[in-house]
Symmetry: C2
Subunit: 282 residues, 2 copies
């Protein structure tokens, strides 16, 4: 059986169209939506991503300011920049791009991103508000997983969702969002014994580890819907996910590239126009 | 087979002894540790609990101030009180007692509890910091579950933990703490299909729903360790947990009363002396 493709390019396009309309409306009210991206790395992948994000922002009518602090920036430099952007009324969204310089920890910095501008859900307060059911932006990647499932009309209530990976940016918030949507949620990770037994029980399997080929046919149950959040560089230089199970029994699998990725970028832009249109974070 | 008893009174006593020593040390440095409990209910159970908490505080050398705002208090009254206590240097721990008056939501208030005094982990920032691995007080009940498991030397790494209930005060933070301890964690709730199939797979089963008899022998797998967080009033007026499976195959079950409850109270007091001894929340 060939699994259906959980395409992300169509929902991403639909989001960008909504955002374009919203951004134009804001400009009509004298508000130019603006996303600030703070970069403190010379990683080529990150550089490529930030350029493509800035280009995507421009196409939907969002100004994107990239603040490059250099790969040798100190925690203090980055912290000061985040505070300045947080108090700058012309900035509506703030993203702190990964990776950070050696010795600089995102946990020590993310609280400096004003919650109402925290469009990638990095501030611990955003995570806590999310868990409490209060308004907050989830990390865009986690939101993209849900968005992709919704676009393809995957039922979640009462279904068994298994999340592989417990990172702060994907695994944990995705589990939180699935739980809010009334799925029964299990979280697996490197210490999980018999990973395949867990993942085979999933109606909805979300994989966010960052290891090529982690999930194979034997990890996937009959009729499962698989969302692959992995973005790995294959030996041939191409982009590859964590899932290599297209010959399995899955009903549907999100492709890499073209699955979660484009939706993530589109949602970052949508969060930015939402932030420009309303302030809700107390 | 009769399940072993995961007694909570002995670990509670050990914690109270540590707290007594720590409180005396603080007094020697001129700091009188103080817990403030804000009460806005005339619920008899809450009244009884607050009186027993205040008495327990007194016995270990912690001053406990109970601020009774009445069952008709408005959100604003309670908010103002929490802000005043948060900025009062003589107060080290703040608890907002449940239940709250009709129409008053804890989510609208808990952010007014200063994070470094949030000894019952109610502020969303505490939850977010916890998820991020930053210092924060977890809700005392969730911390008590882990404390009880540790006291009885229950291994968690790589084991299957199932949490039944997804409340903000118990289910979610307990899942978070179990995940931090490298358990594979599943969260079940009212929408879970075939609850027994999930709970039977648990090496460690934590039940925090609030329904007498929810978990019976058929819900418990061979050799499972069961922590019963339920505190229900039985028809005869006695205290009863959510678990009625002592004739089952569990290796150990925490009793109600005498399990999680006394550890929770002791940990609230321990968090208060920790807060009095150091400020860490940025």
């Amino acid at each position: 059986m060939t699994a259906a493709v959980l395409d992300g390019t169509a929902p991403a396009r639909a989001i960008r169209e909504r955002v374009t309309t919203a951004a134009a409306g804001l400009v009509g009210r004298g508000i130019v939506p603006k996303l600030a991206v703070v970069v403190a790395t010379d990683d080529p992948g990150a550089g490529w991503y930030v350029r493509s994000l800035a280009a995507a922002a421009g196409r939907v009518g969002i100004t994107c300011e990239v603040i490059s602090l250099g790969a040798d920036a100190f925690t203090d430099d980055i912290h000061r920049t985040l505070l300045r952007l947080s108090s700058d009324d012309t900035v509506h969204g703030i993203v702190l791009q990964a990776p950070l310089p050696d010795g600089v920890r995102v946990e020590d910095l993310a609280a400096a991103i004003a919650c109402e501008k925290d469009v990638d859900g990095a501030n611990p307060l955003s995570a806590g508000r999310l868990a409490a059911g209060l308004p907050a932006y989830p990390p865009a990647t986690a939101a993209a997983v849900l968005c992709l499932l919704d676009h393809h009309q995957i039922e979640l209530t009462g279904r068994n969702a298994v999340v592989v990976g417990r990172s702060l940016v994907v695994g944990k918030p995705t589990a939180q969002l699935l739980l809010q949507r009334d799925a029964t949620v299990a979280i697996c990770h490197r210490h999980t014994k018999d990973l395949a037994a867990h993942t085979r029980s999933a109606d909805v399997l979300v994989v966010a580890v960052g290891r090529i080929g982690l999930i194979r046919a034997e990890h996937v149950g009959d009729g499962a819907v698989v969302v692959d959040v992995g973005t790995n560089t294959a030996p041939d230089g191409s982009l590859a996910g964590d899932v290599d199970a297209t010959d399995g029994r899955a009903a549907a699998i999100s492709p890499v590239p073209g699955g979660v990725g484009p939706v993530t970028t589109a949602l970052l832009l949508e969060h930015t126009v939402q932030s420009a249109g309303a302030a809700w974070c107390s």
